[in-house]
């Protein structure tokens, strides 16, 4: 026997969980950019919201502990764009290296 209950981790309706904490935050610029990239990529037909969800659902249950909401979104957007052939894994790696060398803060790294 396994302890698999027949549904994947994201299908959490009805699960036992703790109290709802009334948490909120103002969205940072980088989060708004991730949101905008998702809307634009789906509007342009590069992938769908179902594609976004599929990659997030494949991340496994511990992503709620290890990542934030928009961390997961950019990871999924990136995976979908590589799958769509928009750019290659090699191009992504080179670009991320170049970005990281620009500075230690988001403000610095986001300025070319």
């Amino acid at each position: 026997m396994t302890d698999f209950d027949g549904k994947r981790w994201h299908d959490m309706g009805g699960d036992t969980a703790g109290p709802v904490r009334p948490s909120e935050h103002d969205f940072a610029l980088w989060e708004k950019r991730v949101d905008a990239l998702m809307v634009l990529c789906s509007t342009k037909g590069l992938f769908t919201v179902d594609g976004l969800r599929r990659a997030i659902e494949d991340m496994g249950p511990d992503v709620f502990e290890n990542t934030t909401y928009y961390d997961r979104w950019i990871a999924s957007i990136n995976q979908n764009l590589i799958e769509a052939g928009t750019y290659t894994l090699g191009e992504l790696g080179a670009k991320m290296d170049a970005v990281a060398k620009r500075g230690a803060t988001y403000g610095e790294a986001a300025s070319e």
Partner: protein
């Protein structure tokens, strides 16, 4: 753009928020890289991305409050809203996109609550970006199983004779709650009524303000 530490303006010309001075995270690095690659590949432009951010920033619960207040004052609009939420909101000039928006009305006997158990679907085109708790494991898991307990945690204890209806959203089908018009507002203008409508009252986790 010159790499100038004193020039803390984003490409849109706005100052960076203080939290942009925190150490660069891996995922932020990826966001910058993905965005720049999309621009270099000709998929999008910096201006288009900024315009999309501005469009999202322009959406807020005040939009939904206008819809609710109109429904309270215009019975024919209310009927159209309940028949086809997307079209009724479009009629008021709101960009609902391709979403199927369903308006569910609270009454003295029925209280509606919206959730997305599978992910985080929310009527974002009408209310703006969703609060963090809406996307939390706790809310997603429990809203469908023990909604009265969840509502009590938001400070709403409903009488037992009020039926609670929980609506589980999908990517293509979103809900918005039309709260009941409070007593003591006879003759109020639409704008004054709209001022009573809170974001949480349109999710179902809060009440409208008391007149």
């Amino acid at each position: 753009m010159p790499h100038d530490h004193h020039d803390h303006l984003s490409p849109s010309g706005h100052p960076y928020r203080p939290d942009n001075d925190e150490p660069l995270s891996y995922w932020q690095t990826m966001e910058i890289a993905v965005r720049e690659l999309l621009i270099e590949k000709g998929v999008s432009t910096a201006a288009e991305i900024n315009a999309q951010i501005d469009a999202m920033d322009a959406r807020s619960p005040a939009d939904g409050a206008q819809v609710v207040a109109r429904a309270w004052t215009d019975p024919a609009f209310r009927d159209r809203l309940l028949a086809n939420g997307s079209d009724a909101c479009r009629e008021m000039g709101f960009d609902i996109g391709a979403l199927h928006l369903i308006a569910v009305e609270n009454t003295a006997q029925i209280h509606n609550l919206i959730v997305c158990t599978l992910c985080s679907c929310y009527p974002r085109n009408l209310l703006g970006m969703s609060p963090d708790w809406y996307k939390s494991r706790e809310y997603r898991s429990r809203a469908v199983k023990e909604p009265r307990k969840v509502l009590a945690e938001f400070g709403m204890t409903l009488p037992e004779d009020v039926q609670v209806r929980v609506h589980d959203s999908t990517a293509d089908m979103r809900y918005v709650v039309i709260p009941a018009r409070p007593d003591g507002t006879d003759g109020w203008s639409v704008d004054r009524l709209a001022g009573l409508v809170t974001r949480d009252s349109m999710i179902g986790t809060g009440r409208v303000k008391t007149p």
